[in-house]
Amino acid sequence: MIPELGHLALILALLLAIAQAGFPLIGSLTGHRPWMAMARPLAYGQLAFVAIAFAALADAFLISDFSVLYVSQHSNTLLPDIYKFSAVWGGHEGSLLLWALMLAGWGAAVATFSRNLPLPVVARVISVLGLVAIGFLLFMLLTSNPFERHFPVPPEGRDLNPLLQDFGLAVHPPMLYMGYVGFSVAFAFAIAALIGGKLDAAWARWSRPWTLVAWVFLTIGIALGSWWAYYELGWGGWWFWDPVENASLMPWLVGTALIHSLAVTEKRAAFKSWTVLLAISAFSLSLLGTFLVRSGVLTSVHAFATDPARGLFILIFLCLVIGGSLSLYAWRAPQVAEGGRFGLVSRESALLVNNLLFVAFTVLVLFGTLAPLIYEAFDLGKISVGFPWFNKMFLALAPFLALLLGIGPLARWKQDDPWRLTRLLKTAFVLSIAIMAIGNLPIVSGGAAWVPVGLALATWLVVAHLHLLRERLQHKQAGWPRALLADLGGNGRSFYAMVIAHLGVAVFIVGVTMVSNHEIEKDVRMSPGDSHELAGYRFEFLGARKVDGPNYIADQGHFLVYRGKRQVAELFPEKRAYLGGGMPMTEAAIDAGVFRDIYVSLGEGVGGGDWALRLYYKPYVRWIWMGAVLMALGGAIAVSDRRYRNARARRSAPAGVLDAKA
């Protein structure tokens, strides 16, 4: 009964979405206030019904109702309760429902936190979100209904893919989807502005915090995915340039360009058309990501069994969204007034180059990801593009981005003096060269040319941003500690947010440079009592024994790791066999540290108590995720800047009056 209620709630949500897409938009075009005012209640209503559907599915999982096909495919009575809940989005249908829930959630959030916005703008934004919701709800109801029943009812479910029975992957998809779906708000604001024909600084200020929040979620989502792949897949890598990873990276790259370009639009009213285009692209790439993941057109380690009808639906949806929004753009963009002019050496120029680099990299990643499809379409054979290609492209662009990142924030808006910048950056330059020289010593670089470059770029970033901090604080009369406090309590937060995020980039660079050039990986065969030396650590294998988990049995290895005479870690890697589906899974054991990880993963028993296993030494690998966390933290602090709250407080009174009248 409850699954049918969930199904019904989805259908009602679709009807509400149709109303939400129609009435407020028409109202905003004809100036009919009551219709515009329907936007908010409809957005709340949609959230309520999608939430009911989601709760119904979660209930079916928690009570193990295997008469629901989706539940029987992704759950099992032995599954711990927390994974029964996360199994809701462990498959295609459920993750779409989660996506729809988040979309409705973002819609309701816009409805709640937009009291300072003019009603027609709110009506249009919520209408566009309604249009997107129609697409996803239709997709779910037509091709991927999570509530489908089947008979006869199996006594036991097929079990959740063991790879997904993990905390990291329980939270990774929701975070990622929050980011993907969050870009729909930036998209909706852009489309609403195009419909209204009013692209101005106010529009940028409204859509900036939303875009930032989406970007923060996406950053965390990608970092979690990378971290999960590192510890859960047992092969020790943190990024594989797999199509599905690229699908999440592309919206992130464009999203990063977008938050920078929005800054220019807000502060200088420039780059307006470009910003709109980026907002459209970020969301379109999120949709493309879904298409790639869900259609199975590309070979990917992430790919799950798929259905061609679904791919076709998303492809049509994608074409409608991209085609529709670009036509609207082509029609409206020429009317957009030209923004503020700027000199060749200026903050605007730096941000323009930043944007070009991000977009160029996105295009390259897109090309590399789709190349197998292109080759196949032209009958040139079935190819795959290896990750060295992506690494090469990344290394060709990233250093320029890092160099620019040291200069851009110091440059003044509109026009700057190249000599002033040179003077400011002198110390950073000298220190970077010094670090490069140190990094070039064989003991540091180990002969890898990228080590000195990476370290020098990180130094360059850090020193340049320290200059920036000093510049800001030395002009305050009250002394720097008070100036700092005043800044943090008031309008200055976004400045420190930027510094933190940019320092995150420096930390990320150090992590990537060190782990890529100094990691050591070795496949070995060990008998109980054997020892193996790796990077100055001695791994002693004490043997493996059987252990029982809640829904699996495992072989658990026992390792002692010594550095010299001192024992530094005791590791218990496992090889699990899950009872539900019988799928084997490797559970690596990691001794994590700020400067290095030691990592052991069991391969397979090769007889006589011997094991084939893999040993890793991963220096600075944590810095990669620390960098991502700092970037996300910066984004979060920027959202909390008082500028956005002030706007709300100032405007709330008249908006309330209008609401009352409506």
């Binding site: 897949l233 190349a371 054979g381 079935k382 496949d523 084997p584």
Partner: protein, 154 residues
Amino acid sequence: MKARQKRLVLIGLALVGVAGATTLALSALQSNISYFFSPSQIMASEHPTDAVFRVGGLVVPDSLARQTDGLTVHFNVTDNAAVVPVSYTGILPDLFSEGQGVVAKGRIGGDGVFYAEEVLAKHDESYMPPEVADTLQTAHVEHLIEQTTGSLKQ
């Protein structure tokens, strides 16, 4: 500089950048792509002898043999029409098993054995890489035709 000149400089720089990036991307692509060949295509010698490529198909049941060093494994890959022996040193992915689809990347030796540098992993038991699915179907159909025409002749 006038605004117009500035714009020209910027556009020029952008064009140079785009041209540079395209050249770099395409030239690097040539050395970094690997083609896919089915066992039948390898049997017909359509594969490159001096380059890395991928082979895919089903792991022939009971063909998996571990060598004495404990790390090297041999197994056969088939598309239901032809069989290619594969040798791999290292740890096989979790979902590797006999009778299941597999894709390996490496090069072929003078002895006709495919020496894999990498056996590609997958995340789901029921997932079949599209290349493998394609070749399996065709090979299977051809195999059926062969069988039926063979029986007709008898």
